[in-house]
Symmetry: none
Subunit: 154 residues, 2 copies
DNA sequence: AATTTCCTTGCATACTTATTCACATCCTGT
DNA sequence: ACAGGATGTGAATAAGTATGCAAGGAAATT
């Protein structure tokens, strides 16, 4: 339940302004997540969100990438890292997997996918906030989808 | 006096970690600025600082997005509006719908489609003059195509 | 099955930050 | 010099956030 809630929070923050935890609580309740402020405080901490003049924001929206904050700097960022920073949602249609990200997050995610050269992935196309991942066939796409989803929810 | 204090705060934040306003108060006092927490709260607001997992940080240091923070306008334009302005042609292939637009028109069209969250649309990717709309399956794509075509021809 | 262990959560409350109010200071035009 | 109006500040306090603790539940172990 917690993981879905975290994703719901990411989507909410990407789409609307959230000034405080009680407002977040009310918005989540409308989406079916009924939790208390205490839980949200812990969620926010775990998700490493930032709070600024415009309310809460995702770590990536500030350039406050977890990597930048925590030292390690060699080699390009892994798919897992960029997904954690930018990805909001993963969907699939036929042999394609669609990754929605925060604004500007699509390029880094696609770059990481390209770099890792997953065997089932034929290619990627990135816009501003959407990555299109072309897979060999629907079956492979399903695998890629579940792998990405797992990363997103970890 | 306030201005020097603001600069001192900036320097402090650039050089060390500050996790709360009372810590900031003590560090400033060592530099000769004796003020209360209330004043620092106001300073932080005026300077539009962010607070995150690592304490306070400067807005400049992180490429903070002005779009997200500022300005409420009256909602994004509808698909119908942007289609009327930019779209030239609508085609379909398998589960994908391709919208050709005038140069530079793809982004706005994709943004509007994303915003309206059509249920059959899994995602969109926009280049300069082409929007690729990924649908759940060929049937849904046909529906989306006809809907877009209808808009285009109205 | 029973027990243990680990995780998640709500409640109550401690801690941190924002705001209200009152007052002092410094302009500015009379 | 004085009245009126900004602006900056501290003290008190309201508003918002984090956390210790215990309860409940799921999964693993005995």
């Amino acid at each position: 339940m917690k993981l879905q809630r975290h994703n719901a929070i990411r989507e909410l923050l990407a789409g609307s302004r959230v000034t405080n935890q009680d407002e977040l609580r009310r918005k989540l309740r409308r989406r079916g997540f009924a939790v208390t402020q205490a839980t949200l405080s812990r969620d926010i901490h775990e998700m490493r969100l930032y709070k600024g003049p415009g309310g809460y924001s995702l770590p990536a929206a500030n350039g406050h990438t977890p990597a930048a904050g925590t030292g390690e700097d060699d080699g390009p960022p892994s798919v897992a890292e960029v997904m954690a920073s930018f990805a909001l949602r993963v969907n699939r249609a036929m042999n394609q997997v669609i990754v929605h990200t925060v604004m500007g997050g699509a390029q880094p995610v696609a770059a990481a996918l390209d770099y890792e050269e997953w065997p089932d992935v034929v290619g990627t196309v990135a816009g501003d906030d959407t990555v299109l991942v072309i897979c060999r066939d629907p079956r492979k796409a399903a695998e890629v989808e579940s792998r990405l989803t797992k990363i997103l929810e970890s």
